[in-house]
């Protein structure tokens, strides 16, 4: 394992109800400060793997090590962004974003101050008092992202965060996510089934095979994103090569 790995997955397997094998011994190292993606067809166990790393699902076999410590549950160094947003419908944006801090017992003024900063970061200043049902899908996911950023975790785990928003919003969101992360030393783990999304966002793409999920390939697109516009990135040769390479592998599973 490389020494800058912040998350290490060792021989992790998951069998549901003693019968359905979702994951078969996965070994992985996820580099610090980078964006890694789990990519694979439906049912390859990518969300299961992410939730095992998050500590939300116990693995049937193997171990997860985060920052050199074995983990047995959720921890303060990891924050999760949910596919279905998982916002409290009875709480406004401010309280939702501050919710992680509320659970940690931070005083209300302090946590609202922090939450407001992150609400501004995701561009929702004027919606702090709105309720989730008043927001579009894309805006709800910004709230979910702000909530994850607010607890200041080193690792952000994102479970298909853009799968329930439309394509335009999705692209805009991807671009903003890159901007947002450029200045933060965050490690991001991203689950998606979109090849373009994986290639556009990631430094490292982990390809998983269908059930039982195993790592088949690890691809490093090597795209130079510094100071380049999203359109330039989308025309970059390395980006296009990565998309093509992934498709050549994945098409065997479809």
């Amino acid at each position: 394992m490389s020494d800058n790995a912040i998350v290490e997955v060792k021989e992790v397997g998951k069998t549901y109800d003693g019968a359905v094998e979702a994951l078969a011994s996965v070994n992985l190292a996820l580099p610090q400060g980078r964006i890694s993606t789990f990519l694979g067809p439906s049912g390859c166990g990518k969300t299961t793997l992410l939730k095992i790393i998050a500590g939300l699902i116990p693995p049937s076999r193997g171990e997860i090590w985060v920052k050199g410590k074995k983990v047995n549950g959720p921890g303060p160094e990891r924050a999760f962004v949910f596919q279905d947003f998982a916002l409290l419908p009875w709480a406004n944006v401010l309280r939702n974003v501050a919710f992680g801090l509320e659970l940690r017992g931070l005083a209300v003024e302090k946590r609202h101050e922090i939450a407001r900063r992150h609400i501004a970061e995701v561009g929702l200043e004027s919606f702090a008092a709105s309720y989730p049902h008043q927001l579009s899908g894309g805006m709800r996911q910004r709230v979910g992202l702000a909530r994850a950023l607010a607890v200041d975790a080193d690792i952000i785990l994102m479970d298909e965060p853009f799968s329930s928003v439309d394509e335009q919003t999705r692209r805009k969101f991807q671009e903003e996510l890159l901007d947002l992360l450029e200045h933060k030393q965050k490690t991001v783990l991203f689950v998606t089934h979109s090849i373009e999304e994986a290639a556009y966002l990631s430094d490292q793409i982990v390809l998983l095979s269908p059930r039982p999920g195993t790592v088949t390939n690890i691809i490093h697109p090597n795209i130079d994103r510094k100071g380049r516009s999203p359109d330039e990135i989308r025309r970059d040769k390395n980006y296009l090569d990565a998309v093509d390479e992934i498709w050549q592998i994945l098409k065997h599973y479809v």
């Binding site: 959720p74 279905d84 509320e102 659970l103």
Partner: protein, 258 residues
């Protein structure tokens, strides 16, 4: 507002419906269908007379006492028990079958048994309210807890919420709307329970008014007493329903999984 604003106004239709109903009642009473069926006008004046001479308010005071005690008991014990069933598998397995049976059973059949066991006093009447109201209050609280969006629970755990925080900050607020609806339905059952008890156990309150006026053939008074309890129950339940919509508007309920 639309062009024909009085047609679009729901109040207009509600009043028309009421006027039509009372008109038909008046007509049927004057026909007459039966000597024991008084027209609306006579019933209405009988109602005014009973309010004026204090017999109706007095009857309500005595009817409401076991009803309120019964509902308060159910709210505390029933909601508590429903929540316990929702949170603990052991309590659930132990008691769910009982409440499923109780909810389906015609509980009014138990009332003679209550008289046999607890006599004809306040206790028997409170219990009559409890046996009718408790199953729906318990079951609604239980379902409210059980229907919590699992994704919200997972979110709370992911952000380091303890089990206690999951219950207080996610499960209970999520179940609030269903628990409140259970109370409303429980109160509706409680009204049935108290009227049956007052008719079957010993005539007191409204039950007494109905029985007495029927025995001396004061049919307008008897109908006035019956109509008043129906209207009273309907208005109370309706008011609770409004309060429920105000406290738990559908869009902020947990149920739609936002």
């Amino acid at each position: 507002m639309e062009r024909n604003s009085w047609i679009a106004n729901p109040l207009f239709w509600k009043l028309t419906s009421l006027a039509l109903f009372f008109g038909l009642w008046e007509f049927a009473g004057r026909w007459p269908i039966s000597y024991a069926f008084p027209p609306f006008s006579k019933t209405f004046f009988a109602l005014l007379r009973m309010i004026a001479d204090g017999s109706l308010p007095k009857a309500y005071l005595s009817t409401l006492q076991p009803l309120v005690i019964g509902i308060v008991l159910c709210s505390i014990a029933g909601i508590g028990f429903g929540i316990a069933m929702g949170l603990s598998r052991a309590v659930e397995w132990f008691s769910l079958p009982i409440f499923i049976i109780l909810q389906a059973a015609p509980m009014a059949a138990i009332i003679p048994l209550l008289t046999y066991m607890y006599g004809i006093g306040l206790t028997a009447k409170v219990l009559a309210v409890v046996v009718l109201a408790a199953p729906v209050i318990v079951m609604n609280s239980y379902k409210g807890i059980r229907n919590t969006n699992p994704s919200l629970i997972q979110m709370c755990r992911a952000f380091l919420g303890t089990r206690k925080q999951v219950v207080i900050k996610i499960i209970l607020p999520h179940a609030g709307a269903l628990i409140f609806a259970g109370l409303r339905l429980g109160l509706a059952m409680g009204f049935i329970g108290i009227v049956i008890a007052e008719l079957l156990i010993t005539p007191t309150g409204i039950g007494d008014l109905i029985t007495y006026h029927s025995s001396v053939a004061d049919y307008p008074e008897m109908f006035a007493a019956i109509a008043s309890i129906i209207v009273f129950a309907a208005v109370t339940i309706q008011a609770l329903e409004r309060l429920e919509r105000k406290l738990f508007p559908p869009e902020i309920r947990g149920a739609d999984g936002v």
